[in-house]
Structures are given as C-alpha cells and as structure tokens.
C-alpha cells in the first residue's frame, strides 16, 4: 500500500490516460508530458500564479500543487475542454464566448496566464453567473498577469456575466 511508484488512471479532456509514475510526479507535469495537454501552463510552480489551473471533477485546482497519483479516477478538464466547461457546445469561429470576450477586450497579451484564467473563470461563472465587480476582483486574486494590469480582464468578464 505504501509505494514510490503507482499506477494512475484518469481522464484528461475526455481521453483515458494511464501510466505508472513516481508518486512525487506533479499533476501539472503529468498533464503536459504524459497526457500531452499543452494548455496546462506552468509558471511559478508553487501555487501563487494560477497559470496551471485545471478543473478536477468540476473544481478549480492548481495542477502544480497536486500529485498525479492524487488524481486517480478523476476527470481532469484543461483549457481544451473550455467549451464544455462554459456549457457552450458550439463555439463560434473556434472560440468560446469567454475566449471571444477576452479577444474583444484585449484581456491577454503574451497569453501565458490565459489558459488558467479561462478555466477558473468558466468555473467561477458557472457557480455565479452574475458576479459584481468586487466578486470578479476577488476571483482574480488567484491569478497573476504581468501584461494587462487586469483592467481588461475584468472588462472581459463583466461583458459575459448574465
């Protein structure tokens, strides 16, 4: 029962991935290297920046603060599943509603923080479809963006709230 290596099996964006991994293998590395989910961006690597945020069974999780073996049996959704996370089955011109809002409001520049922001904002809006500005800012506390100064991200999220 105690081990340094374990078999792990999870679904990543609908695909089942199984592998034998060292237990210290982080989920963010597993997703990038084993599941080839390049939308998982690793920046700070210790839970501050939010760039690697993915949805695990519908909850936002920093993939750098979780071991791959902890996700045994879980359904992991990265930014590649954004349409499903937003409940937007038919993205227009390949972009979901949230992605279009980010583009229209210049809510990204280098784009490194964007996948994590999109995933966690989709989950945030699913829980609270009409957040006030204060709630949006509270939500953004979990994400670092070095380009935009956040004003455009706030504007993008405000434009899609119901």
């Amino acid at each position: 029962m105690i081990s340094e290596h374990l078999d792990v099996r999870m679904t990543v964006d609908g695909r089942t991935i199984s592998a034998r991994v060292p237990v210290r293998y982080l989920l963010c590395d597993f997703l990038r290297e084993r599941a080839r989910a390049g939308g998982v961006h690793v920046a700070c690597g210790h839970g501050v920046c939010g760039a690697c945020t993915v949805a695990i069974d519908g909850i936002p999780v920093r993939a750098c603060l979780m071991l791959a073996v902890q996700a045994e049996g879980a359904a992991v959704m990265t930014v590649a599943s954004l349409a499903a996370l937003e409940g937007d089955p038919e993205p227009r011109a390949g972009l979901t509603r949230l992605q279009r809002a980010f583009r229209e409001h210049h809510a990204l520049q280098c784009g490194y923080c964007t996948p994590g922001l999109l995933v966690s904002t989709a989950l945030f809006l699913a829980q609270n479809p009409s957040p006030c500005r204060t709630q949006i800012i509270d939500h953004l506390n979990g994400h670092l963006c070095r380009c935009t100064g956040y004003a455009n991200i706030i504007a993008a999220i405000e434009s899609v709230r119901r």
Partner: protein, 281 residues
Amino acid sequence: MKPAPLRYARPGCIEQAVGLLAAAAERGRILAGGQSLMPLLVRRADRPGLLIDINRIPGLDQIEVLPAHIRMGALVRQEQARRSPIVRSEAPGVAAALAWVANPAVRQRGTVIGNLTANTPGAELPAVAIALDAQFVVRTAEREQVLPAAALIGPEKVVPANAMVTHVLWPRCAARVGFHEVARRDGHAPVVSSLVALGVNGCRVSLSGVCRTGLSCPTVARLIAMRLPGVPEVGDLASALRDDLVGPVYSDAHSSAQYRLEVAPVVSQRAARMALEELAA
C-alpha cells in the same frame, strides 16, 4: 518532479492513517488539501518520507452541530465552511475570517484544519482559533484526546509528528464580529489581521502577524468592551496590546516588528468598528 523522493499511502480510515504516521517515525505528513504542504514540498523546504493522503477517508468532510460546538472534520474545505449557513450563524468569527483566506480557487481545495495546523505566521485562522477557544480532536495510534487549539498551535507549540488532528471544535456563539487585515496583496497571507467578536463573554480579540503565532488579546478586548458603544483610540489600543504580547514581535523581510506594532491597533480598531456596525444592524 520538484518534490524530493517520497512514498505515498492512501489509507481508508483514520486508524490506518495514524498507524502509518506512527510507523513513519516523525517523517510522515498528512496530506489533505495540500495548499500549505505542497508549496513546502516543491521548494524542498520539507522532505517528508511518507505522504498520507486522507482524501479518501469517508466522513471527514462533515460539518456537524453539537450541543456546544460546531465540529468540522479534517477534509472540510475552507470555501465549504465559509458558505455553510451553520457556520455563518453559529461560528460567525470563523466565517468572517475565512472570507479573507487565500482566494476562491485555493479555498475550494484547502482545508480548515490544514490552514490551522500549518500555522503560518500571519495566517488568519490560527489566531481566531486561539482567541475563540477552539479545540482539536487529536488522534495518535494509542489514543484520542480533545485539546485546546492553543496547546498545539500557540507560542512554542507544534502538532506532534505522530498525531493527526481529525476534527476542530468551534464553540457555538451568536457574537457580532468584525474582521480586518492588511496584506501586501489581497488573497495572500496578511501582515496583520484581527478579529473582534462582541458578545462572547463580553469581547474576544485575535491578532495574527504580531507574534510568531496567533495571539489572543484579552487586554485589548477588555478595553473595547469598556468603551462600547464607541471605539477606543488607536493609541489606547496600542498600549493595551503591549500587555497581550507573548514573546518577541515577529518580523520578516517585508514588514518589520515596528511596522507590525503600528499597524496592529489600526487593524483591530477597524475590526471593532465593523463588529459595532454588525451590532447596530
């Protein structure tokens, strides 16, 4: 693979978890939400031999109402507790403090007990637990004990490496509370935070970030209670606070001890104002 090599176990019950802790001879760590522990591991500030993942132990995610307490298991997430109507009405100080802990995403994974036992300087909940007389249910392979939180996370205290805090007991009370903090960035560990609870044996005040661990401030609390329905001046709060200090004032690269002592009475004054507004409402 940033953490140092380690082993991992996924026990199915508390007995197994504490058995594994005992066998790991001080090198075992309980892994619940991981929001305090994992950053230590990836920086290799901690190199445990064994991680004991308790996430699959049934029943630990419950918030229960007991005659005198609200009982939370070791898997109760911070956001779950913050949103709980029971916690809001029966342990309002806890709900008020939780709104300031981290950010919504981290709160959905991080646990209440994890935040308490990590006992990071500045962290909101340990100070609140000490000031409100919370208790821990502590389990080792040999026995189960109920201990005051202050006995495990107070000054010079640590949770023993062979022990697991399985539950926290918050005394039920209908206090009116105010919580305020100053942080370098919202959602991060504050420089100083303060809870003022009016109506728990008069008044209770907690401060974090002033001493190395959370601080209960009975002298400040008496002063606030005495001046009701007004709020004491900052200077008076500052002198009262001096009598409540336990050990040296904490300092780090960002905030000196002097700065913390200047900010603490201001933060407590604001928390007291918020509590008074609650009382009036």
